[in-house]
Amino acid sequence: MYDKEKGLFEAFVKNKLSRRELLRTTGKLGLSAGAAGILLTQAQTNAMASDFDWMKYKGSKVKLLLNKHPYADAMIANIEAFKTLTGMDASWDIFPEDVYFDKVTAALSSGSSEYDAFMTGAYMTWTYGPAGWITDLNEYIKDPAKTNPNYNWDDVLPGLRASTSWNGVPGGELGSADAKQWCIPWGFELNNLSYNKPMFDKVGVQPPKNLAELLEVSAKLTKDLGGPYGVGVRGSRSWATIHPGFLSGYANFGERDFTVNDGKLKAAMNTAGSKAFHRDWVKMIQESGPKDWANYTWYQVGTDLGAGASAMIFDADILGYFMNGGDNKEKGNLGYAPFAANPAAAAPTPNVWIWSLAMNNAGAQKDAAWYFMQWASSVEHDLFGARKMDFVNPVRASVWNDDEFRARIDKSYPGYLNQYEVSAPGAKIYFTAQPLFFDLTTLWAENLQKMVAKEIPVDEGLDKMATEMDQKLVEAGLG
C-alpha cells in the first residue's frame, strides 16, 4: 500500500502523472493532506538526489543572513526538504528590511565569515562585487561537479539572469559575455498598475494604457471619488523613489540615466524627451498624487491602496498582490494591468527589483553554501513556494507555466498573469550599472521633490542636476 502511494508521487514528480490525476488517486486511497505533503517532499527529494551527490557535505551547517520577507518565509517552510536532501543543517538570522542592508554591509565589510550566503538586491552587488565581498557564481553554475544536472539555469528568466550579472566596468552592459554572476535571482517584482476595481467602476474609467491616459484617468478619479486620490507613487528622498514606476515609464520612452562614451559616463536626464517625461510625471503627482507625496515609500503607497485611500498605484506588482489579501480593507477589490507609458511603445518596459542570493566571499565553506543556494533557487523549491506560499514573482519560466500556480493566481488576483505575461519580455534593470548608483539616484529623487514642490522649474532643474552629476562623475574618475 505505502509503495503504491510513493510510486504515485514519484510519477507526478517525473511528470508522468498530472496534478488532477494525482489528487483523484490520492483521494481514492484516503490519504490526508499532511501525509500527501510528506510523500510529495520525499518524491521531490528522491528525484533531485538521483543524478547528483547531494550528500557530499552531509553534516555541515550553513548560516544565512535573511531579510524578513515572504521569500524567506517560503524557504524556511520548506527547509526540511533541504535537510533531507543534503544531510546538511541550516540556521539563519532574519532582520527587518529597514536595517537589513546595514547589517549586510557591516558583515561583509568587516570580512566576517559568520554568514555563508545572504539575500541581496541586484543594485547592491554593484558595490559588493567590485569590493570583493561576494563570489562570482559562474564558477559554480558552470561546473558540473558542483551543480546538479537538473538545475536548469537557463530556465531562470533571461532578463533576470542578465540583470544580476555585471563585468564590474562602470557603465558596462548587464549580462555581457564577460560579466560575473554576482547573485542568483530568487524572487522579483516588476512595475505595473494595480487598481481598485469598484472605484474605477464607480467613476466609469478603464485602466490607462499610456502616460497621457494615466494623467487623465487619475485626475478624474481624484475629482470624482471625493476622497481617495488618483494614483500612488513613491516620493521619498531615496533611490527607491526612482526605480519602480518612474524608471519603468521613463525607459519606455527610450530615455536613459547615463550615456557611456569611451568608458566615460555622462548624465542623460536633461534630454528633450526626458524633460517632457519629467513634466508629465510632476504634473501627475501635483494633480492626482498623495498630499504628502515627498514622504511616500513602498509602505505608504501600498497601505493607501489597501486601505482605499488611493484608487491606483504605479509600483511593484507584488505590492498590489499583497494589498489584495490579509486584513486590508480593499482585499479582493484589486485588479492588475500592464502599462506602457509611451503610446508608441510595443510593450511595457518595467524596471525590476530582484531579491537574490549571494555568496559571502569570506565564507569558510563556499561549496556547501552553493549546495544551499542551488537548492533554494531550484525548480522544486520555486514550485513549492509559488504553489503553497507567497513566493511571487517566481524567477523561473517553468514555474510560470505550472497549472497549479496559474490557477491559484488567476482565481484570487484577476489580471495578474496577464500583466506579467505582457510585461515579462521587457522586464529588466534599466539603470546603468556604476558605483555611484545610490548617491546619484538619490540626487535624482531629491530634484524630483523640488520640481513637484515647485521650488525649481523642471527643465532648469534637470539641466542643473545633470551638471552636478557630471561633476560628481568626474570627481570619482567615472566621467
Binding site: 520577507h69 559568520e114 499583497f322
Partner: protein
C-alpha cells in the same frame, strides 16, 4: 499671601490642561492604536470610537503575527528580554566601575587624571558608526561576536562616561569635611567612601544610573552590527512589524506600549532622585 483671582486660576488650569493634552496626545493615540486592528487604524476619517481588541498584545506575547502574506514568527518577547538584560547589566557594571572612579577623580589629584577623565568622556562623542567596524574586527578576533558579554562591554561606551561625569560632579559638590572627620575617627578611605560618600551621593548615583539605563535602552546600532538576530534589543525588534506585505500599525503601537513600561516604571520610581540628582550634580559653585 495668594493674590491670584479665580479667573486667573481657571485660565491657568485650562492652559495647563491644554499643554498636557498637546504633549500627551501622541502617547494617548498610540495607546488607543494598540487596541485596534490595522483596518480600524487606517479608516478615513480617524475616530476614537472602535471595538477594542487584544489581538496585538496576544500576537506579541505568543510570537505569531498574521499578515497579508500569512503568518510570521515574532521574537518580540526575546527582544524585550534582551533589552532588559543588556540595559540592566550594563548599568550595573558601569556603576561598579564608574562610581569609585568618579570618587577618585573628584577627591584625588593624580598624574594624567584629567586626561583620563576626558578620554572616558570622549567615548560619548565618538559616532557609533565610526567605531563599529574596528570593533567588529576586534570582536571577531576575541570571540566576542554575538555574545551578551561583548555587548555589555560595548554598552559601557554609553553608560560609563555618563555615570562617571554626573557622579563626579555630585561628589565634588559634597563637602569633604564630613569625610575628613570620618577618616580622623580612624576609618580607611574605602570605609569612608562606602559609609559616607556613597550614601550622600545616592541621589546623583540613582539619577546617573537611570539616565544610563534610558540611553542603553534606546541604543539601536551596537547590537545590530555586533550580534545575531536572537540578541537584538527591542529597538531593532520593533522594526519587524514593518514588512514587505504591509505595516502592522496596531502591533507597532502595542510594542511601543510594552517597551515603554520598564523605563516608565523605573522613571516613576526614581523620579525624585532624577530631578534632585541632576540639578545638584550639574550646578557648580
Amino acid at each position: 499671601m495668594d493674590h491670584t483671582s479665580t479667573f486667573e486660576r481657571i485660565l491657568r488650569g485650562i492652559l495647563l490642561a491644554l499643554v498636557v493634552l498637546f504633549f500627551m496626545f501622541p502617547i494617548f493615540w498610540i495607546l488607543l492604536m494598540s487596541f485596534q486592528t490595522n483596518e480600524s487604524i487606517l479608516r478615513m476619517p480617524p475616530s476614537v470610537f472602535f471595538t477594542p481588541t487584544f489581538d496585538n498584545y496576544i500576537a506579541l506575547v505568543t510570537g505569531e503575527m498574521r499578515t497579508a502574506a500569512g503568518s510570521l514568527q515574532l521574537n518580540f518577547m526575546q527582544n524585550l528580554w534582551n533589552s532588559v538584560l543588556l540595559s540592566t547589566t550594563s548599568v550595573a557594571v558601569a556603576l561598579v566601575l564608574g562610581v569609585p572612579a568618579a570618587y577618585a577623580f573628584a577627591r584625588f589629584k593624580f598624574r594624567l587624571g584629567e586626561d583620563i577623565a576626558f578620554t572616558l568622556l570622549s567615548f560619548r562623542f565618538a559616532p557609533p558608526l565610526l567605531v563599529l567596524l574596528p570593533l567588529s574586527l576586534y570582536f571577531k578576533s576575541l570571540g566576542l561576536t554575538n555574545t551578551y558579554i561583548g555587548l555589555i562591554w560595548v554598552y559601557q561606551l554609553i553608560c560609563l562616561p555618563l555615570i562617571l561625569w554626573i557622579v563626579r560632579g555630585y561628589f565634588e559638590d559634597l563637602s569633604p569635611d564630613i569625610e575628613h572627620a570620618h577618616r580622623i575617627a580612624g576609618y580607611s578611605w574605602f570605609q569612608t567612601f562606602r559609609k559616607i560618600a556613597v550614601p550622600l551621593a545616592l541621589p546623583g548615583i540613582a539619577a546617573a544610573g537611570l539616565l544610563a539605563f534610558i540611553f542603553s535602552w534606546n541604543n539601536f546600532v551596537f547590537a545590530l552590527v555586533l550580534a545575531s538576530a536572537d540578541k537584538q534589543p527591542v529597538t531593532v525588534g520593533a522594526l519587524a512589524f514593518v514588512t514587505a506585505s504591509g505595516i502592522q500599525y496596531g502591533q507597532i503601537a502595542a510594542a511601543i506600549v510594552m517597551s515603554v513600561i520598564p523605563t516608565f516604571v523605573l522613571a516613576m520610581f526614581a523620579q525624585r532622585y532624577l530631578v534632585e540628582g541632576l540639578s545638584l550634580g550639574a550646578v557648580k559653585g
